[in-house]
């Protein structure tokens, strides 16, 4: 059963799962706003549809979804930037920006930077469940403008986003403004000249820009999350073009993110996060206690996925704030604990229907949630993510998460040779 605005998603999802003729009954959108009596009236109609649909489905046992694991189809096109971009635009294969033509020569050159075979399947990309082979990843990386040596980073990112705990399915099809934030740690970030400092989440660095863009193209093209079809974001956010940076390990007073997550400092790793848009926290305070307080007070918002579902929110501390916190003796664990304690929100601030969603979603974690319950932003302090990134300035940023439907995931970057 789908609301009208989601029937396209439902049909595409059924097809992706190999059951293209799955019966779907459709109710007017927005269904959730209907009064109780209207729901009953719709049920009276739907039950008739259901009886007709399930008693008239296709003949038993007929397999009809044929998956051809082709190794890379090619298309012919005039050798001009205009013709190639017109073709890719018409077929909805771009993010709306011009692409570099993925010729065999360029794709082959890129694949030399990974020890993996071209037809190795790195992951299955929801919601279309397309197989992300090394070749297909390289094709999208070429399109995005990646230099060949970037490929191992992108392969690790695809491994991470296709891990079950990341729940890419939800991120790809949601109405929420959820993007995938790609964080790079270790020697690879320096080797590729990635930006971890001034404007690291902005424009201007080739590796940051093209790696973030390439991951989006992989998710859109291999995962078939085309905007308006299976990608149902109400607005989306600019991070869906690219959302990628390195950690500023040189200026961080704490262990790097990938070390915190079980890797050695000399290893390289990527971490992916289901992330909403960033919120600026500009404080000139030199007091660790004050910095923690104002950051914690930024986090509570009544219509927040983090508080409704129990989230994995992130704080990106600028080096200046991080150093003040460390000078006061605070470790990352200490900061997470204090933020968790000080960012609790009284449940009664939520809209009634959202409070009811919270009661269902967090029942096992919190028991009965009442209007005076103090809701923690996440199930435990360790679920708050901390990164040190950016250049000089007094700006840290809060990045709300896609909540507990997606867990941040880290994978090692493996080089050829």
């Amino acid at each position: 059963m789908c609301s009208t605005e989601f029937a396209t998603l439902g049909r595409a999802q059924a097809r992706a799962l190999g059951c293209a003729d799955l019966p779907i009954t459709v109710v007017p959108h927005p269904f959730g706003l209907n009064a109780r009596a209207k729901v009953r009236a719709l049920a009276e109609i739907c039950v008739q549809d259901i009886e007709k649909l399930v008693c008239a489905a296709a003949e038993s046992g007929v397999a009809h979804t044929v998956v051809s694991e082709h190794t890379g189809l090619t298309v012919q096109v005039d050798d001009s930037a205009e013709a190639v971009n017109l073709l890719f635009c018409e077929r909805q294969w771009t993010d709306g920006l011009p692409i570099v033509p993925p010729t065999a020569e360029r794709v082959d050159r890129m694949m030399k930077f990974t020890p993996r075979a071209p037809d190795d399947v790195v992951g299955i990309v929801a919601p279309g469940f397309g197989a992300a082979t090394v070749r297909r990843i390289a094709i999208n990386a070429v399109m995005a403008g990646c230099h060949p040596e970037y490929l191992p980073v992108l392969i690790a990112a695809v491994e991470a986003v296709t891990a079950p705990e990341f729940n890419l399915q939800a991120i790809q099809v949601t109405t929420n403004p959820a993007a995938v934030w790609l964080i790079v740690n270790g020697p690879v970030a320096r080797r590729l000249g990635m930006n971890a400092g001034v404007n690291c989440l902005g424009q201007g660095n080739w590796a940051n820009a093209t790696l973030g863009r390439a991951l989006r193209l992989v998710m859109q093209n291999i995962g078939r999350a085309f905007p308006g079809e299976m990608d149902r974001a109400t607005q989306g956010h600019p991070g869906k073009y690219m959302f990628c940076c390195a950690e500023n390990e040189a200026d961080s007073p704490w262990e790097p993110l990938h070390v915190e997550r079980g890797f050695r400092a000399e290893q390289s790793a990527v971490t992916v996060v289901g992330a909403e848009g960033a919120i600026n926290m500009n404080t000139h305070s030199k007091s660790a206690e004050e910095i923690v307080r104002v950051v914690a007070e930024t986090m509570p918002r009544p219509p927040s996925n983090d508080y409704t579902l129990g989230g994995d929110p992130w704080v990106v501390f600028c080096p200046e704030h991080a150093q003040i916190l460390r000078a006061a003796g605070l470790s990352k664990v200490d900061v997470k604990r204090q933020l968790w304690e000080q960012s609790k929100m009284v449940a009664g601030r939520m809209a009634a229907v959202d409070l009811q969603r919270t009661r269902i979603a967090r029942l096992a974690e919190l028991g009965a949630v009442m209007p005076d319950t103090m809701l923690p932003i996440s199930p435990s302090p360790d679920r708050i993510g901390i990164l040190v990134a950016g250049g000089p300035g007094t700006h840290s940023i809060y990045i709300p998460s896609f909540a507990d439907t997606s867990r941040a995931t880290t994978r090692e970057v493996i080089w050829a040779g």
Binding site: V39, A58, T65, V75, D78, A104, R357
Partner: protein, 96 residues
């Protein structure tokens, strides 16, 4: 006239494996119908109403109701296995 080049398609085929088509039921009488509530507003009411109508008007023998904790999380494997074992038909929802 400009030259022709070959470029790779960047997509992958739909689907991860071949699966059987839906089986038609020979009617609803005596059948077991499952519901997986996606936890979106109002779908619990729709589930209650459909369950009552299917039993009272179409002779459905029994209904089985499960609710996901939140819409973005897949139904747990044990719940999926349970409804697959018990039910002739399963109904779930997508959208707002």
């Amino acid at each position: 006239m400009s030259a022709i080049i070959h470029v790779f398609e960047p997509t992958a085929p739909y689907g991860r494996k071949e699966m059987a088509a839906c089986r038609a039921l020979d009617g609803l009488r005596g059948k077991v119908v499952g519901f997986i509530d996606n936890a979106k507003p109002n779908f619990n009411h729709m589930v209650d109403d459909l369950a009552e109508l299917l039993v009272s008007r179409y002779g459905v023998k029994k209904t089985v109701k499960c609710t996901k904790r939140s819409p973005g999380i897949p139904a747990p494997e044990d719940i999926l296995a349970d409804v697959a074992r018990q039910c002739d038909l399963v109904i779930t929802g997508s959208g707002d």
